[in-house]
């Protein structure tokens, strides 16, 4: 079907300001194909069903909306976690500031270097998982990313990584517009943890493609936000091998617009995928979690746990889908999305979907929205807890189910401390 003229125009306007990066044949082919996908789909617009609850215009506009750099003396998230630290400034890798990426069992290269080579293992991942993730729902921003991303990391774990790899982002220019693309391969039986933290840029388009081989394990924990005016759209595409495990957790605090899409395909038996998120927003905050999990094999388990706390007119969005294809028997799919609205101006918009073509499955989803439980509040106050403390306690207990999805206690504690501080600042 031909795209509407307005959409074509908006797409071409954005593309006009971008140039395809140079590279080896495989990388150039991937980029050219991605660009063709963008043109075929058109960039998202308000009228698209998939963008019903989130306005994409500032994410697709030719000019970058500015975002002030937020100065803080707070230590960066995950600072205390023993990890290999790799820094990016406004979406550009900063080799001088970073640790030596020679971590046992993990190969780390820059996409800008890798894409110049004639042949590289990343060829089977770069743009490949993204292209696959375009069906049945178009994700044009991800294709745009594949076409134009110049930087990013290409990481391969061949054994059990000793320390997590931490990607630490710094936002320095108020008008920075970053497109980052990471490719991750976890080989058979290997395991890897990737941490991401910090504000990337005023506007950020991020794609991470994760390919997990049989019995591989991938853990991902991300702390987003901090700067208030950030606009972020991220996509994570994952393909899971037999008996492999994928776990991802995202904490979002602040950010005028954040959309995190997670697209997971369970194509081999007995794999596990958990995606979770906690978001706290105050005022001009729009946070969208869009998850699409496809079960296409036997005995797989997927779990989505998303919690949002919203105040002063903040908006939370959840679009989650479990698709169980024909023959994907013994699937266990679970999905919960909950919002706590701290005042009357905030809103939560959800579309939790199930699409199931196999009969021997147990799939469920739940979604609730409401205010702080007055009875619980009364109970705490009657035990002498001041109102503000009691409210914070109840907010934290509401978020606990999502935070419990993080395997590492040290990381969970770190995030919990940040959440407490965030709440305390808003007394």
């Amino acid at each position: 079907m031909a795209l509407p003229q307005a959409k074509l125009d908006a797409t071409e306007a954005r593309l006009a300001g971008l140039t395809l990066p140079e590279g080896g044949k495989w990388a150039s082919d991937a980029r050219t194909q991605a660009l063709a996908r963008v043109r075929a789909m058109g960039l998202p617009s308000r009228r698209d069903e998939y963008w019903k609850y989130t306005r994409p215009d500032t994410l697709t506009a030719p000019e970058t909306p500015e975002a002030a750099v937020f100065e803080t003396d707070e230590s960066p998230v995950f600072d205390g976690i023993d990890s290999v630290k790799l820094y990016f400034v406004d979406g550009v890798f900063d080799a001088d500031a970073s640790d030596d990426p020679a971590l046992a069992g993990v190969e780390i290269e820059r996409l800008s270097v890798v894409s110049g080579t004639d042949i590289h293992w990343a060829k089977d991942i770069f743009g490949v998982l993204e292209a696959k993730g375009q069906d049945p729902v178009a994700r044009p921003l991800a294709a745009l990313n594949t076409a134009f991303a110049t930087d990013g990391l290409v990481i391969r774990a061949t054994g059990k990584a000793e320390r997590p790899v931490a990607l630490i982002y710094r936002h320095a220019d108020t008008a920075s517009d970053a497109i980052l693309h990471h490719c991750i391969r976890v080989e058979s039986g290997a395991s890897l943890t990737v941490l991401e933290t910090g504000p990337v840029a005023a506007r950020f388009n991020g794609v991470t493609e994760v390919d997990i081989a049989d019995k591989g394990t991938f853990n991902h924990v991300r702390a987003q936000g901090r700067d208030h005016e950030l606009r972020t759209a991220t996509h994570m595409f994952a393909r899971l091998g037999e008996e492999s495990a994928f776990k991802s957790f995202t904490l979002t605090m602040n950010g005028v617009l954040t959309r995190n899409e997670c697209v997971i395909e369970l194509t081999s038996d007995n794999a596990i995928a958990h995606v979770a998120g906690a978001a706290v927003g105050d005022g001009d905050f729009h946070h969208d979690d869009t998850v699409f999990i496809t079960h296409d094999s036997l005995h797989c388990e997927s779990r989505q746990v998303f919690k949002k706390v919203l105040r002063n007119g903040a908006t939370g969005v959840f679009q989650g889908k479990i698709l169980v294809k024909e023959g994907a028997q013994k699937t266990d799919g679970y999905q919960i999305s909950q919002a706590l609205l701290l005042d009357d101006d905030s809103q939560f918009l959800a579309k939790p979907e199930l699409e199931i073509y196999a009969d021997d499955v147990a799939c469920s989803h739940g979604s609730t929205t409401g205010a702080i439980d007055e009875t619980a509040l009364f109970y705490l106050r009657s035990r002498g807890v001041p109102r503000a403390d009691a409210e914070d306690l109840l907010v934290l207990s509401f978020l606990a189910e999502a935070i419990a999805e993080i395997d590492s206690e040290a990381i969970a504690d770190d995030l919990l401390t940040r959440l407490q501080a965030w709440l305390a600042r808003r007394r």
Partner: protein, 505 residues
């Protein structure tokens, strides 16, 4: 059918499977009546719209209303967002008006109605006689006076007759065909028609607004509790004929009515179109119970033929403390596209939606509800049970919207799907929009075979496996079956036939 024969999963009782299978395998109402008909020429254009209006002896304003809708419709495109797939409908290959010849001069009473038509309804179990209640209930003759049901029978494009009109008139209730209402009560029709579902609402509603030929009209005056249940029975008989009925029910202040709707069609190889609009208006403290047993011909086991059922049903709870309850048992139709909705405008108004949707063979159902909370302290409850078998696809699609001013409102949604066989699909597409924090919204959905925990519980109480399954599956639909008026509950239970009582204990 072979899928069902060979592939009975553990935990799903054979009897259940047989029962579901029986639904489509033996469509009981698939015969047709051989009767001389008057058709409007095939196809759709302004002249057809004029012709329908003329046949119904309508005033000028009604014709203008229809033409306006028609002109809008030609510019609209058919919606494609639902999870149903069907070959394009040839709107110009349908007849938009079909009337039994004998109805050319409208019979003054039931005694004058063509015996062939009366016979048709008798065969369907709907005797158009005033001494009998709606059939399907054994020993109907012994039933007491209070269980009367007034029936408006619609055959293809026209209303054949309406029973108990005199008795209803005594109570002040108006119950007649919509074409009579346009002539006899233009002030009410003008005021309310299209006020809930405007002519521009959606593709199918707009089509209906242009070409609706008949349907039922109900007005319950203030303070009146309708003395009997009202019912409309829709029958499509003629081939290649679409049925476009329009129902308008107005419950004035402090009134109450329970309304039943049934529908069947003959078995034919070609698909037939049914695009209805139902509008309910509720003023202060009014209550309407609207129950449907939809049993249109679903097509054969290879997916050939059947009715395409595109229906727009909406209730507008304008008055404070008004209450509407939609109950539907959807077993028929090749394609169902239907979302009975509630606009909860009045403070403290309530909307309820209970649905069982069964899809077998190649049937596709995309059905659900919208609960739009506008008034303060409004409440809604959604209970949807979907059962898929064979190669069928069954989708629940719903919207719960809490507007900023709908303080202290409440919604509870539960949608459960049961899958029987490995080639069918069950889907849930809820939209939840909460725009204030004093309201609570809860949504739960499950898709499964028979629940293991429930099975375990029953087994631990000493039931054998078969009894346990019978109990669990029975329970799966019961919440909805219980919401139906007695007469329909009987018919629905026979239809669903999943009630396995009697085999327990």
């Amino acid at each position: 059918m072979n899928v069902m024969d060979t592939d009975v999963k553990d935990g799903v009782d054979r009897e259940t499977v047989e029962a579901v299978k029986g639904l489509s395998g033996t469509y009981k109402h698939g015969w047709s009546t051989d009767i001389e008909m008057d058709f409007a020429p095939k196809g759709l254009n302004e002249d057809i719209v004029r012709l329908i209006s003329e046949k119904n002896e309508e005033p000028e304003w009604m014709l203008e209303w229809r033409l306006d809708a028609y002109r809008r419709w030609v510019k609209m495109t058919e919606p494609d967002w639902s999870m149903v797939k069907y070959p394009p409908v040839e709107y110009n290959e349908q007849f938009y008006y079909a009337r039994p010849k004998s109805m050319e001069v409208k019979p003054k009473s039931l005694d004058e109605v063509d015996p062939k038509l009366l016979e048709t309804y008798k065969k369907l179990g709907i005797p158009l006689k005033e001494q009998l209640i709606l059939a399907g209930v054994e020993g109907a003759e012994d039933v007491d006076e209070n269980r009367k049901v007034a029936v408006d029978a619609v055959f293809d494009s026209v209303s054949v007759g309406t029973t108990f009109q005199a008795e209803l008139k005594k109570a002040g209730v108006i119950f007649c065909s919509i074409s009579d209402a346009i002539r006899d009560h233009p002030e009410l029709v003008k005021k309310y028609l299209g006020s809930v579902v405007p002519a521009s609402d959606n593709f199918f509603a707009t089509l209906n607004s242009a070409v609706f030929s008949d349907g039922s009209f109900v007005y319950i005056p203030p303070g009146v509790r309708c003395p009997m249940e009202l019912s409309t029975y829709f029958r499509i008989n003629a081939e290649n004929t679409g049925q476009f009925e329009r129902t308008l029910i107005i419950a004035d202040k402090e009134s109450y009515v329970s309304y039943l709707e049934g529908c069947t069609a003959p078995m034919r190889d070609t698909v037939q179109l049914h695009a209805a609009v139902v509008e309910l208006v509720l003023l202060d403290d009014a209550e309407i119970k609207y129950s449907t047993v939809q049993n249109w011909y679903p097509g054969d086991e290879n997916g050939k033929g059947g009715i395409y059922n595109f229906v727009t049903k909406r209730a507008d709870c304008r008055g404070d403390r008004s209450k509407v309850m939609w109950t539907q048992v959807e077993t028929g139709s090749a394609v169902t596209w239907k979302y009975p909705s509630c606009i909860l405008r009045g403070d403290d108004s309530q909307g309820e939606f209970y649905s069982i949707a069964i899809a077998n063979n190649y049937q596709q159902a995309d059905t659900g509800t919208k609960m739009v909370h506008l008034g303060k302290r409004t409440k809604s409850r959604i209970v949807s049970k979907g059962i898929s078998a064979g190669k069928a696809q069954n989708t629940y699609r719903g919207l719960v919207s809490m507007h900023p001013k709908a303080k202290n409102s409440r919604n509870y949604t539960q949608c459960d799907s049961l899958l029987i066989g490995s080639e069918c699909g069950a889907h849930t597409v809820p939209y939840i929009e909460v725009r204030n924090n004093s309201s609570r919204v809860e949504h739960e959905a499950t898709t499964s075979k028979v629940d293991d925990d429930q099975m375990f519980y029953c087994r631990s109480r000493g039931m054998d496996e078969e009894e346990a399954v019978a109990l669990v599956v029975n329970g799966f639909c019961k919440e909805v079956l219980q919401a139906l008026p007695m007469e329909f509950a009987m018919e629905a239970q026979q239809l669903v036939a999943i009630s396995l009582e009697g085999s327990v204990g």
